[in-house]
């Protein structure tokens, strides 16, 4: 048995581990042990995890072995996976990276976690994030910032920073994040992995700590399109516990992976790329387009998205408004942090929320409360909801002409820790390319699209509603002709 262990390579993708389990090369428990050792060694530097589920994972790995032995394995059986600490895990602390929920223990699993467990996946831990998923750098966590494995002086992106980092650093092949304005795609781009925000309604949000309910969506991280398809297959689908989840049948996501690019037309919106993008990012993006073109895709540079610049104000009015309502529930009475009892119930509530929420969460609640308050509702909130319709319609019209819209995922590669911490607007501008997919409810996928001075950049593909099979097909074709996704950060010094 001893020499079998040496064959375990943590950098392998989930489908390779699954093959090795089936062939008896190594067992889920052996893979898990190596995974946990590596996780704990790297996490002293990267801080990708808020909690590690050592004993639960060990039991899950044993159950996975039995399932494999009895021929009942799914593609995820025995595969180590990490989940953003925004998704409820039964009897296991779920903090949302906030002091407000630092001791909260859910009594039920979120639907996504329940589906992962049912599929035999091995949950190894809960990943770090920006508090309540509000942030683009993972610096707003009550548990400290996450570091980018390509350069630990840089941010990993956010809010699902820990989930992106743990896949990029080859600790686990798969993870789960959430995306309200780019929180899966932006960290995927900054860390050099794949990250998908599914169509609104494709994946249940039941048991996910709510941020902005008309924008939030749960999605997968992986290092190749096969793994991404297999993970999406498990988490997608209607859930009676989430009335916004869709009854549209779930397709076989891996069925079109090998269909290639022939017959597909991609739009490149010149409006969107006219300003603010780093010329080196632009250059990497044009090279990616050449790859797609050389392999059969048609490119249409005439699609119009004239109102795209409004995406930023629309998003940063709607999301904080919804957040201010969603976060009203944290009153220090039923669960969560509670301040010392004051003179009155109201005083206790003011103190609880003053102490329990961090600076960015307070800022967003105040932005939302202001935008919804008497006298400003029409000028800001209602106006934003109308412009949301305008943006949606422009995307709808563009996607009638092309199969998908391509842009860089972010205007720049990962920035330095602290660089944008004191300038909220500058931080928000980083989300310019990712926000519209949430505003329009569309699926968006970021795939590794090159490197600039040793830092990864992402290629973003936004498609029609429920066109995830097409997005995965494009990713697969691109990855067949590029090697970006196979490049790993050098972590040998940790």
């Amino acid at each position: 048995m001893a020499e079998m262990n040496t064959e375990i390579q943590l950098g392998q993708n989930a489908h390779t581990h699954a093959d090795n389990f089936r062939n008896g090369t190594y067992s889920p428990a052996e893979l898990l042990n190596k995974t946990l050792d590596n996780l704990e060694k790297l996490d002293t530097q990267l801080n990708a995890y808020i909690s590690v589920m050592r004993s639960e994972a060990t039991s899950a790995a044993e159950r996975a072995s039995s399932a494999i032995d009895s021929g009942e394995a799914t593609p995820l059986t025995g595969i180590p996976i990490a989940v953003k600490d925004l998704l409820n895990t039964k009897d296991w602390k779920t903090t949302a990276a906030s002091k407000m929920l630092s001791t909260y223990v859910p009594v039920e699993d979120s639907t996504v976690v329940a589906r992962l467990k049912a599929a035999g996946a091995v949950l190894v831990g809960k990943t770090n994030l920006d508090e309540f998923a509000m942030g683009s750098s993972n610096e707003f966590s009550a548990f400290g910032p996450v570091k980018n494995p390509w350069d630990v002086s840089r941010v990993p992106g956010g809010s699902s920073g820990g989930s992106a980092v743990t896949v990029a650093s080859r600790v686990v092949p798969l993870s789960i994040g959430t995306d309200t304005g780019g929180s899966i795609r932006q960290p995927a781009a900054f860390c050099g992995v794949l990250g998908l925000k599914p169509t609104y309604g494709r994946v249940s949000r039941f048991g996910v700590v709510a941020f902005a309910s008309s924008l939030d969506q749960v999605g997968p991280f992986a290092r190749d399109s096969y793994d991404l398809a297999n993970l999406l297959q498990v988490i997608a689908g209607y859930d009676p516990k989430d009335s916004t989840s869709s009854r549209i049948p779930v397709p076989d996501f891996s069925s079109q992976l090998l269909h290639g690019l022939d017959g597909l037309t991609f739009g490149v919106p010149s409006d969107m790329l006219s300003s603010g993008v780093d010329p080196l990012v632009q250059g990497a993006f044009e090279k990616s387009i050449e790859v797609l073109q050389a392999n059969g895709a048609q490119i249409n540079r005439d699609i119009q998205l004239p109102s795209i610049e409004a995406a930023l104000p629309v998003y940063y009015l709607i999301a904080p408004s919804e957040a201010s309502a969603n976060l009203a529930r944290y009153d220090g009475v039923k669960y969560g942090h509670s301040a010392e009892l004051g003179e009155s119930a109201e005083e206790t509530m003011f103190n609880t929320r003053g102490e329990g929420f961090g600076p960015e969460v307070k800022r967003r609640i105040l932005i939302g409360t202001y935008a919804l308050s008497a006298g400003y509702y029409d000028a800001f909130y209602l106006k934003a909801q109308k412009v949301r319709t305008v943006i949606r319609t422009e995307y709808e019209e563009a996607l009638n002409k092309v199969d998908a819209i391509l842009t860089p995922t972010t205007p720049t590669p990962a920035f330095k820790l602290g660089a944008k911490l004191d300038d909220p607007l500058e931080m928000y501008l980083n989300d310019l390319y990712t926000l519209p997919a949430n505003i329009a409810g569309l699926p968006g996928l970021s795939i590794p699209g090159g490197f600039i001075d040793g830092l990864p950049v992402g290629l973003q593909i936004v498609g029609r509603s429920f066109s995830e099979p097409t997005l995965l097909r494009i990713a697969n074709a691109y990855q067949t002709h590029t090697d970006w996704h196979n490049q790993a950060p050098d972590l040998s010094s940790y």
Partner: protein
């Protein structure tokens, strides 16, 4: 146009949001809100005279053109009796309790 938000307005909004903010915090927030809302005022340039607001995103999606809108909106689960959480589970996260009650200061 310079967007101006007074410190009193910041304190009023914090009051509405039930968040205690210090004077130093309110000064910083005032400046940040001014910058942010100044930027947001560019929305007024977009003509929305004949546009309906998007009040929810489900059912508005492009692919749904061929699907009966009624089907989409009737996404309501069946009204079935299920096993509820037991009292101990419901109360296990409450910061202050006495027996099967949650303790607070008087609210009336």
């Amino acid at each position: 146009m310079r967007m101006e938000i007074s410190e009193d307005e910041v304190l009023h909004v914090a009051e509405l949001a039930r968040i205690k903010v210090t004077l130093a915090e309110s000064r910083e927030i005032k400046e940040q809100l001014e910058t942010i809302f100044q930027h947001f005022s560019s929305l007024q340039d977009i003509d929305t005279e004949a546009v309906d607001p998007t009040m929810h995103i489900s059912g508005n999606q492009i692919v749904l053109d061929h699907i009966d809108r009624e089907d989409v909106n009737q996404n309501i689960r069946s009204d079935l009796i299920e096993t509820p959480l037991d009292t101990e589970q419901v109360l296990q996260n409450s910061p202050r309790r006495e027996n099967t009650f949650i303790r607070t200061k008087g609210v009336l």
